[in-house]
Structure formats: structure tokens, C-alpha cells
Symmetry: C2
Subunit: 179 residues, 2 copies
DNA sequence: TCTTGACATGTCTGTATGGACAGGTTGAGG
DNA sequence: CCTCAACCTGTCCATACAGACATGTCAAGA
């Protein structure tokens, strides 16, 4: 039911339509945390409405329906945020690839790790200026822009992977060189 | 089809039964990368056999069937490892919670971040000695134990999250204190 | 006026998946 | 000899999900 909580969390920022929420999943949340297409989002919003966690607070042009969180919805979000299961759902293709690097021939592993390192470096160069621009606009005392923490998470994530790939390359050198 | 590639990657380490593979998912790979239960693994192994990517190389007691990678299977694994889709599958409940921290009241957010930081610190203290023990046993020139790179990844991951949570707490202090 | 792209909501089908259901074997220790 | 835990393989069902299919509106610019 994580999709439901993702939607509750996004709606906690303010009312949004199914379309808006679908767009949100194109951004950082869909890239790093949880994917969802509109074909899942619309039915889920319907079920959440039935469950009393959201309401249609406004309709707009083109049949637009704007959803807002109810008290029940906010309570459920809070409950979920504080209730960590022992085994959280995880299914991450990128991390899986990292786990399986050692299944490749040493030469292939090295090539792949070099690719990962380069890719991370490129992402970092793209993300860092965005974060710095946000910080420059930010005034003392204002709430942080939504996604600032998430963006920082993504950045640190890439830095960690970059460091890992570099470290792994060093560790593999001995094996490959001895070939 | 990532489950298939996870299985191919695990089998690249050597033959294993469905039961062995199920156990493997209880470890790091299932915790950080990809979850799978035996009810998915057995049917998938059957399909992979049909596709010629694995073969039953040996039967043992209790109906045990040991699967081994074929050349086709190894080729498919390699192909997949080098073929990165623009948008990789990701569905990670833990990361989702991090994205949604800003949806909470500042006080709740602070409590949660403190919990995350403490949790990460505990995991780091558990993982680091394991890695150090493996390194102490490791001799120059030997191949790294399977999972050493993955373990290092997990460790660096926790360190990154810990750093992020600490940083986030600092950034939120202004908001909370001004309340 | 026309066309195009963005806005907007939905359904349907095949596959993925988790959790329950189901059943049988073997070895070690009491 | 017995029992129990670990070993071992499977199926079934309800739900989750991705991607295709389907439909229609509105605003801006040519």
C-alpha cells in the first residue's frame, strides 16, 4: 500500500489532481523512491476517496478533479511515517546491478564500474547546481522548498555510489592485473 | 524481468537449488536490492529452464534440484548488466519515507529524522565489523568474497543516509525553533 | 479557422508478486 | 525409536502494476 502513502504525502503539500500527481512521479520521487503511472493513480485515488482519506475539494476545466487530504488521511500518513516494518519493500534495479557486479568476468566488472562512476559524476554535476540555486534563493526562517531534502538525498546518494564504484575498482585491480 | 536477472546473477556464483536461492534473498540482496519469495522463484526457474538459460545439473535428497547457468544464461546476464534503461525500476519504501519527511509537521519531522539517524548509526556499527573481519581474512590476489562489494555498498549507503538525516535536522532547526 | 500540444480522466489485459495453502524428506539429538 | 527442525518443492488466489487502449477539452499560435 505504499502508493497510497506516497499519494497522501504528496497531497499533504496541498491539493492536487490525478494529473498533477502523475507529473510528480516523473520527478525525483519516481526516480529514486516509488514509481507510479496514471493507470494506478486514478483507481487508487478513487479507493482513497471511498476510505475517507481524501476528498474532491474542487473541480476545474477538462473534468479536472482536485483532491485534498482529510484529517483521516493526514493521520494515516503520520501513522505510516512512524511505523517502520522490519522488512520494508525494496525493489531497485540499479542496486541489484551493483549486487551482481561480482558475477561478471573481472574485465567486464571493471568496465561496468567505470561506467557507473562516470554516470554518477555526471548526475552530481547536474544536481549540485540545482541545489545550490535553491539554497541561494532561500531566506533564513522560510520553510525549505518541498523536495529540498529529497534532492539533497539524491545528491548524497550519487556521491556515495560514486565513492563505492571507485573503491570497488581499486579492490578489483589486484584480481584483474593478475589475470 | 529483474527477478530473472537476479537469479542469473546468483547462479553465476555457482549452481544452487530453489531453496538456496530463496535463502539468498533473506540476505543483503533481499534487503537492499530485490525481494523475492520462493513462490516466485520456483516458477521463474521453471520458465528459465524452458528458455534454456539454466539447466538442472544435479538432483539431491528431498527432491532437491540444483540449477546451473547455461552459456545462454550467462550471455543474457551480461547483456542485462550492460544495458541500462533510461528509467530503471525502483520501488523503495525507505526512500519514499525520506521523500515525504517534509510532509510532516516540523516537530514530527525532527523526531523522525532523529530516529533515522539513530537507526543508521546502529546498522553501521553492525556492518562495519563484518566488513573488517572479511578484509582481515582476505589475502592479496584472492578474489573478493561474493557480497563484499555489496556489503560495502550497504555500509556506504547507511553512512550517506546518516549524513543526510543529520544535515536535514540542521536545516529544519530554524523552522522548528521559530514556531 | 485550424492544428497541435498540453491538460485531463479513465479502463483493460497480461504479468508480477506476496502470503497462504499443501505436502513430503532427511538428519541429528534425545 | 522418535521427534523436531531444517530441508525442499510446489500451487493458488487476491492484489499490484505497466503499458496499451480509449476519449475528450482547452489555449495558443499559425
Amino acid at each position: 500500500m505504499s502508493l497510497r502513502h506516497a499519494l497522501l504525502g504528496l497531497l499533504a503539500q496541498g491539493p492536487a489532481s490525478g494529473y498533477d500527481l502523475t507529473r510528480a512521479f516523473d520527478g525525483g520521487i519516481g526516480r529514486y523512491a516509488w514509481q507510479a503511472g496514471h493507470s494506478r493513480i486514478y483507481p487508487e485515488l478513487a479507493k482513497m476517496t471511498e476510505a475517507g482519506q481524501v476528498v474532491v475539494d474542487e473541480t476545474g476545466p477538462r473534468g479536472r478533479k482536485s483532491y485534498a487530504l482529510t484529517e483521516d488521511g493526514r493521520a494515516e500518513l503520520r501513522r505510516w511515517m512512524f511505523h517502520w516494518p522490519e522488512q520494508a519493500t525494496v525493489r531497485d534495479e540499479t542496486v541489484l546491478r551493483m549486487f551482481l557486479v561480482q558475477s561478471l568476468e573481472p574485465d567486464d566488472a571493471r568496465t561496468l564500474l567505470e561506467g557507473i562512476a562516470a554516470h554518477c559524476a555526471a548526475e552530481i554535476e547536474e544536481l549540485r547546481p540545482l541545489m545550490e540555486a535553491e539554497d541561494a534563493e532561500h531566506r533564513e526562517g522560510d520553510p525549505l522548498p518541498f523536495g529540498r531534502l529529497a534532492g539533497e538525498y539524491g545528491l548524497r546518494q550519487y556521491e556515495a555510489v560514486h565513492g563505492w564504484a571507485t573503491w570497488s575498482l581499486e579492490r578489483l585491480v589486484g584480481v584483474g592485473a593478475a589475470r
